[in-house]
Amino acid sequence: MLKATFRYLVILLVACLAALALYWVVENRASSLGLNTALGRGGGRHAMAGAEGGFLEQRPANAEASLEGFSRMEHGRGGEVNLLGGLSGVLKNVTVIAAITLIVFAIRQAGNLIFQRRRVKAV
C-alpha cells in the first residue's frame, strides 16, 4: 500500500516536472518554435460548435485577423454535442489505431522473413 502510494507520487512528480518544463518552453520560446502565438489556429480540427470562447476575452487587440475560426465557436453556449459527428470521429480514430497496428505487423513479418532467410543462408 505504502509502496504503491510512493509510486503514484513519483509518477505525479515526474508528470509535474515535465509539465513545468513544457510550460516554460511554450511560454518563453513559443514563437521561436514556430508556434502561432497570435491566437491559436482558429476553430481547430473539430471547430467546436457553441464553445464559449474564453479566448475571446483574452485576445490581444491586434488579433482580429485570425478570428475567422472562432466565429464558428461563438454560436450557442457551452460546447454543443454532435453524436453522429462524434461517433464518426471515434470510428476514424479506431481506424487510425488499426492501420498503425497492421503496418507494424507487416513490418515485423517482413523483418522476420528477411532475418530468417539470412539465418538459413548462414547455415
Partner: protein, 168 residues
C-alpha cells in the same frame, strides 16, 4: 498483477481515450472531466508496469538493439504527449477553470498545442497498441473468446440418467 486486471485497465484507458479524443461526442464539460479522470487511470496503468519501467530504464544504456528499447522510447514519448495534452487542456479549459473561478492569461499557442499533442498521442497510442498486439490478442483470447466459445460447446447432459448409464 494479474493479466485480467491489466486487460481491464487497458480497456478502460483505450475507451476513455477514444471518447476523450472526440469532444464533439460529449461536449466540452464532460471532455474536460473525463480527460482528467483518464490521467488517474493512466497512473494506475503505469504503477501496474512499475517493475518494467525501472528494469528497462536501467538496461536502457547497456543493451542497444533490443525491442524493449523501442517500447521504452514510445512509452516515454507517449507519457510526454499525455502530459502536454493534459497541461494544454487545463490551460485552455472553460468548464473546470470556470468552476474554480480561475482565469488564466496563458499563451494562445496552447490551443494549437492541445490539438497537436492530441494528434501525437493518438498516433503514439496506435504504436503502443501495435507493439503490444500479441499480448492483447492472446489475453482477449484467454479471457473473452475462449470462455465464450466454451458456452456454445455441446456438453453431455449430466441430468440425463440414460446418458449416464450409456457412458458406463
Amino acid at each position: 498483477m494479474s493479466a485480467k486486471t491489466n486487460l481491464f485497465v487497458d480497456s478502460v484507458i483505450l475507451v476513455g481515450f477514444l471518447v476523450a479524443f472526440e469532444p464533439l461526442l460529449t461536449g466540452i464539460a464532460i471532455h474536460e472531466w473525463l480527460s482528467l479522470a483518464l490521467a488517474a487511470t493512466l497512473m494506475v496503468h503505469l504503477v501496474l508496469h512499475w517493475e518494467w519501467v525501472l528494469n528497462v530504464a536501467a538496461r536502457f544504456l547497456r543493451k542497444w538493439f533490443h525491442e524493449s528499447r523501442l517500447n521504452f522510447i514510445v512509452d516515454t514519448a507517449l507519457f510526454i504527449a499525455f502530459v502536454l495534452v493534459m497541461l494544454s487542456g487545463i490551460l485552455i479549459s472553460r468548464s473546470i477553470l470556470g468552476l474554480l473561478g480561475i482565469q488564466l492569461a496563458a499563451s494562445p499557442a496552447w490551443r494549437t498545442l492541445h490539438s497537436l499533442s492530441a494528434d501525437a498521442s493518438l498516433y503514439l497510442t496506435g504504436l503502443h497498441f501495435a507493439l503490444h498486439w500479441k499480448w492483447i490478442a492472446s489475453t482477449i483470447n484467454r479471457f473473452v473468446v475462449a470462455p465464450l466459445g466454451r458456452l456454445f460447446q455441446p456438453r453431455p447432459l449430466l441430468s440425463d440418467p440414460l446418458a449416464a448409464v450409456e457412458e458406463k
